[in-house]
């Protein structure tokens, strides 16, 4: 079968690889009908990430049809149309019970080489093997493939950012970064009743996308003044870093109010950040780091998607055949798309 894999620094290719097989009685094999490309994939294939040598097969966002299941899989059956979570979890340990699947000892992150643990082949492929299928997969239940792709990764991250921040109705939320995740943080914040959401993003096109959905938008230069104007000078109640990196954390500190909450859902590759701790103490700040958890959030989020109370389909502005994955990656890297999905069977 064909699958997307890293070819070299900044380059991917579609290659013929062996089809996956069931390896454990809790596995399933899914025939992928749509796979997403995430900002994380751009980083992993950039040549700057550890544990992702050429040949690494990419992709952790997918929907598809179950074609085979192990002997212990009962809740999912061949023929089911399912959405995947971006990583697997056992569903039964202390962390899974608490809804913190990322910390499950059996977590494996699809398509990320050995960057986050033992390798599990990616889902930008015709078929994908899914460990702990009963926990990792869920029926799409009438969601469109596009909605399900988002619920399985980027929207889970957007939603959890708002949840972790404890954002309350009536609050002012600032979001740093207008990529797919940032846009979905902004939508999530509006959904739970933020009084106003400010998306901070240099690209005019991405700001306009947000503004069309009722989000306020600002360049990084304009943001502090806009936030002050909205909050009588206090600063934002919640600031979400949807980019990652210490420079963005520093920006977040610049616009958060006293007793405000900063949540970072962007990858933090640097070893250390010089947290201004005297100020954080006097202002009683809270700083949280969060990774999406589609397994936990998908039933709540799906309820909203199904009734269009949350309607993020527009975030996906590119859809190309799997065979053109190299081009899709390049255009996404150049920000000519916001979010691209790959169709393995076109």
């Amino acid at each position: 079968m064909r699958a997307v894999r890293v070819a070299g620094p900044g380059v991917v290719e579609v290659a013929e690889v062996p089809a996956p097989k069931l390896e454990a009685p809790t596995d399933a094999i899914v025939r992928v009908t749509l796979a997403g490309i995430c900002g994380t994939d751009l980083h992993l294939s950039s040549g700057h990430a550890d544990g992702v040598p050429p040949g690494t097969r990419l992709g952790h966002e997918f929907v598809g049809d179950v074609v085979d299941v192990g002997s212990h899989v009962r809740r999912i059956a061949p023929g089911d149309h399912v959405m995947g979570a971006d990583f697997t979890a056992c569903g039964a340990c202390r962390f899974c019970e608490a809804g913190d699947h990322w910390h499950c000892k059996e977590r494996a992150f699809f398509g990320t080489g050995t960057a986050y643990g033992p390798e599990l082949h990616g889902a930008q492929a015709e078929l994908v093997r899914v460990p702990h299928a009963e926990t990792t997969l869920a029926p799409t239940g009438g969601l469109s493939d596009e909605a399900a792709i988002l619920a399985g990764d980027n929207l889970a991250t957007g939603w959890i950012a708002v949840e972790r921040a404890g954002a309350r109705p009536g609050e002012i939320v600032a979001v740093l970064g207008g990529g797919a995740v940032g846009q979905l943080v902004a939508l999530s914040a509006l959904t739970i009743g933020a009084a106003a959401v400010v998306l901070v993003e240099p690209s005019v096109a991405r700001r306009e996308l947000a503004e069309r959905r009722g989000v306020l938008a600002a360049t990084p230069e304009e943001a502090p003044a806009l936030v002050r104007a909205l909050t009588d000078g206090d600063g934002a109640d919640v600031v979400v870093d949807a980019v990652g990196g210490t420079r963005v954390l520093a920006s977040a500190l610049g616009i958060v109010r006293k007793r405000g909450r900063i949540v970072s859902v962007g990858a933090q590759p640097d070893a250390a950040f010089a947290l201004p701790v005297a100020r954080a103490f006097v202002d009683e700040l809270t700083l949280s780091f969060a990774i999406g958890d589609a397994i936990r959030t998908r039933s709540q989020v799906a309820s909203l998607l199904r009734r269009h109370a949350l309607d993020p389909g527009w975030v996906i502005d590119g859809r190309v055949p799997l065979s053109e994955a190299a081009r899709a990656y390049a255009e996404l890297r150049a920000q000519r798309f916001l979010k691209v999905v790959l169709d393995p069977h076109r």
Copy 2:
């Protein structure tokens, strides 16, 4: 000055009465610029309510300009444009500290005779005396008079219904009754991220008003099937009774899911309700009663109103001079209006 008062069963009149004066150092006198008529006023003036003899002066919804304050009032000053809460509270006792102002021992409910405690003259008048002015009043802070009238009573009730129910994003909320309060419960539930809200109401006009704002609507006959369809047969997560009376409580029990929550914000004049307790136990139901608390909710609600994240102005479909109050009451009783405000100075 002129004020609305009860003339007889089902009849009100505008009469010349003495202007109010400061009676305590914490009082203020407000020149009313807009006063609302609430469903409660229809009940109080119907002849069926205790403690509301002819001559009782009505009205507990108002905005206006402060014209005089007692010697201990510092945070409010003559000239301030303010919104009133529907009842007063001391702001400092155990109940006030906990945000339960209704249970303050110094509570007085404007314009309700002695039905709920010592009499405090109503606000459907040119002037109104406001005890505990620093707690009872708040600057409108740029809200329209219409928005402020709603935030001071009916929207506070709508908001608190959703809050008391613990309604979470993604849940299905049913609202019984499409009067002003029911419409505002529905809007509040959408604002905090309900996946769907079903308004149950016999009047086609009131159902259509709701549908125009993204609420689903059903007649009482249609409601059970619609709720089942939306919830895979489970029943609504939350049911709010926005009418009152035991018959409506019984309807709520008919559409709530197991482990669901019923909140009643409609007046309950009957002494007893035959609660089906065996079923309530096996289904682990929760039943709460709530009265709006504008003092607690107004700052959160105002934040949403100010940025139009919550936009309920359309609920007010009638605006008449104070002199025509008798006609306004009659038309409201006949449901020719959803919500009427009186202008004392036109």
Copy 3:
């Protein structure tokens, strides 16, 4: 093997019955090392309960050793020493995900005949078949058998009463009924930081048991005055009915404060309770019904038990061989014991 079953109204017997076998691949067979007798068992065997004919096998509290598991059971293995929950649940449906296992469509309640759904034989026996073993069972993890018996039923109920009430540190909690469940409600309330707990119970012996653990105790006659004294006349923040029946609900209403919360965890056999709805509305009361959920609470509760931060072992004051079950039931009915456990292998 031997098992306890209903012999006639108010009488149980130990009879030889066929040993259970695996019936589904998710089943386990447990060799019971200790089984509890619950107040519910007294009711079920009284002759007044529907669905419990003579011959019904009793018991829903047990610990033991796994002796066999179905082919899909991986997390539990023969040889494991486990605690059971009082009822089974699938662990994967919407209700299970939300932590409301009682409402799982695959719930079966051990040893209750057909009173609550399809029959599942009781655990007061040498062996018991456990459906959905991975969800229903958990390793005792070092808990004593006595602690595990309590965590599997009565303490789960006591804990959930406090949780459902939303009891906060510093509040005053009244508990109606000093049986095993009432005592465990009281301990749970102390554990989470109630300022004071009042146990209301006619039996002097049961009051003294509570007083020895730092609980205040009162007869039903003394209770209103004691609660008033503790609360400056306001009434209890939380009242838990640990007995059941409408008469006790009425007592709860007599001592709860305005905006207070009543939780009933006692069975409610009557069809209807005359809820004083006008008062409930004006006082903004909340009334909840709750059934314990050992599956949800056991990991949190076990954490406290393991470190003796919650130490309820004293509640069990009787331990008799299974062969003397008839006597144990009779003495428990006569309140000569608070809580009895049966040893099937002595």
Copy 4:
């Protein structure tokens, strides 16, 4: 009157100073009957703090009798025996309404020079002027002076650490530092139902004090192994830094579990802390800074103190006349006391 003031680096003196007078209609004058010395006072008088020149009058913990009130003070009257909060707040602004009094624009911190804003003379004196008396003071309501001193500062800090961490019953809490605040964090964590609390402290005497109250104790060297043993190697759910400084923050990171929460209530004098951000991201940590808020917590805490559900009086192990303040400071600095109170009238 006599008051404690800074004499030079590390030295305080008792000096004759002018008695305070009412300066605003919301002021009160309190005759101090007991004043506490806080760890903060040692820092302020050390010569290393900005804004605390010689002559600065110290003390922010006090109970006493009201002797005079301004014309707008109604809820407090001469003769009332009251407890003070450590800082003042207006009680009416957005931050005060939200229970975040520290961020009130009218906050003034007693006895800290200009280190935290405009100077307000300290309470280690015969008399103290209290701005915003209705908010800053509360009747002791039957608490002992010692309990009230603690509730007004150090216990408020201990309580809020646990609250801010979102510590839940059954969790494992580690506390770094066994001074008065650390001991009170530990007690607070036990009160709300922590399964175990580990106090990390080099001094054997301070460890033993904690152990006598059911707290586990460890040296900094022993702590990691003890925490691992208690948590199956996972790390503590919550770690509270009750010392301050970046070195202690680093220790906290060494024993917190994945998805754990660190709260620092110790002063952070350094400009920056090198937060290991890559690890914080992958482990989804939360880091909060908190300052006690006696105004918010005192009614909840007093409820527990009054019924001895929280009993911290033993933390105060020294009581000396005001005239011997210099010696008290010196002995406290040498850790010969855990907590000292000064009696101005002995």
